[in-house]
């Protein structure tokens, strides 16, 4: 069995469609998970009574259970309660919930690294706790925890391959299906190898470049 470039060329439109799905799912989940992270970190720092415990529990559950089981739970479990979502949004929802927990932790870490004096100064100036978070705390926290936030985003893009398990036609699902139908394992596996390595490496290189830039003021 040799490497068949012509075959690969024929499959290109399918693979491109898969790549688009991978990017779409990840992009939406990145945005939504950061939103969850902002809310979660704020809730935990403001010590909002019930919500705070809920978020702490949510983070622990997500961190200590397999992503695949979470995806199955969303895709197979929720419909039996009458909550039917299209498969695309099942993928987005589970990836969002997964990454949201880690973003909450990232931002909480960032917030706790913001100097105490700033929150005291904000209070002395008459800012409410919420105003402090919105105007001072969170903007600084985002900057402090940007590396870990972006690393989580890179992981999210990588782990978006898990949605192929429920049949969402992302890059890996398209490739797996071609292998099962055409027995062209080498061609498709090399596409996956190159595709994901390119995606993840280019993202993590940009993260490193950004980190470097952000540290510029503190470098001697």
């Amino acid at each position: 069995m040799e490497f068949d470039l012509d075959y690969l060329r024929q499959q290109l439109p399918l693979l491109r469609a898969g790549l688009v799905v991978t990017i779409q799912v990840s992009a939406i989940a990145v945005v939504l998970s950061i939103a969850i992270g902002l809310v979660g970190a704020a809730v935990r720092v403001l010590r909002v009574p019930v919500l705070r415990q809920l978020f702490a529990g949510y983070v622990e559950v997500i961190r200590n259970t397999p992503l695949l089981v979470q995806i199955f739970f969303v895709f197979f479990g929720l419909p039996t309660l009458g909550l039917v979502l299209p498969i695309f949004w099942c993928g987005v929802l589970s990836l969002t919930l997964w990454a949201g927990a880690f973003q909450t932790e990232n931002l909480r870490g960032g917030l706790s690294a913001v100097h105490r004096g700033l929150s005291e100064a904000a209070r002395a100036l008459g800012l409410s706790r919420f105003q402090y978070l919105r105007l001072v705390g969170l903007p600084l926290a985002v900057r402090i925890s940007l590396p870990s936030i972006l690393n989580t985003c890179v992981s999210l893009v990588k782990n978006s391959a898990y949605v192929s398990a429920i049949g969402l036609q992302d890059l890996s699902a398209v490739a797996f299906e071609r292998i099962a139908n055409d027995f062209r394992a080498f061609e498709m596996l090399s596409v996956l190898l190159v595709g994901y390595l390119a995606l993840v490496l280019s993202l993590s290189f940009s993260v490193r470049a950004l980190e470097h830039r952000l540290q510029a003021p503190f470098r001697r």
């Binding site: 069995m1 039996t80 990588k158 190898l193 390595l197 993840v200």
Partner: protein, 237 residues
């Protein structure tokens, strides 16, 4: 609710088989990951540049490719190369390659946490390189690495659920089988309850390990044993 409990009770043997398979798979993977991790993690601390590059390349590749792709690649790729591979060894191999990459990072961190003077002193005493590692560096690195390896075990246990996709009857698959039979035989789909239970069991096992990992980490720093290697995070591997 009662229905789910009934289902779980009648299918307890199947669930136990699944759980045993999950733990067995995790144990095999942990052993192999440790071996691979020690190998590549040690290479990363050696002098020659090309050896360090080799180690970095291995770590980068298996951490950047989605684990699900690695496992499918082995599962489909081995037969295409003419090597018949059962689902269980295929999954164990895929998990170990990935776990080994993460183990290598931990071992590298552990070895680098040892003050350089140790190595210099050993060299001055005339110890050969392999003896420096065996008698001086590895034993000391072990303390710094233990919390991180405990955390890695939690991640490995979570990742074994991928076995369900290629036909290993581990815990997740056992849950899926119960749902399937119940749906077909009785026309009731218990997916919510069963998968909630599956989540709960994984949570119980992994949160104990995570807790243990944090505790070990804290104990190490309290006793002045230097800093522990950071445990790998599901969002970082």
């Amino acid at each position: 609710m009662m229905d789910t409990l009934d289902l779980l009770r009648t299918n307890a043997p199947l669930l136990l088989i699944g759980l045993r398979s999950t733990l067995y798979l995790a144990a095999v993977t942990l052993l192999a990951s440790t071996a691979i991790g020690v190998f590549f993690g040690t290479l990363a601390t050696l002098k020659p540049r090309w050896i360090r590059t080799l180690s970095a390349l291995y770590v980068e590749v298996f951490r950047d490719i989605p684990l699900i792709v690695t496992i499918f690649a082995i599962f489909f790729g081995a037969p295409a190369l003419g090597i018949p591979l059962e689902p269980f060894p295929a999954v164990a191999l895929g998990l170990s390659l990935w776990g080994g990459a993460n183990g290598a990072e931990i071992v590298r961190g552990g070895l680098q946490s040892i003050p350089h003077g140790q190595r210099e002193a050993a060299t001055a005493l005339g110890l050969r390189l392999w003896k420096i590692y065996l008698l001086i560096l590895w034993p000391q690195a072990l303390r710094a690495m233990l919390p991180a390896f405990t955390g890695l075990l939690a991640l490995i246990i979570q990742s074994t659920s991928l076995g369900a996709l290629v036909g290993v009857t581990e815990f997740l698959k056992a849950g899926g089988l119960i749902i399937e039979t119940s749906t077909v035989m009785r026309g009731v789909n218990p997916a919510f309850g069963i998968y909630a239970f599956v989540l709960l069991v994984y949570f119980a096992i992994c949160s104990v390990l995570t807790w243990l990992s944090r505790r070990l980490e804290r104990r190490l720093s309290l006793r002045g044993g230097g800093h522990a290697v950071r445990a790998p995070d599901a969002a970082g591997v």
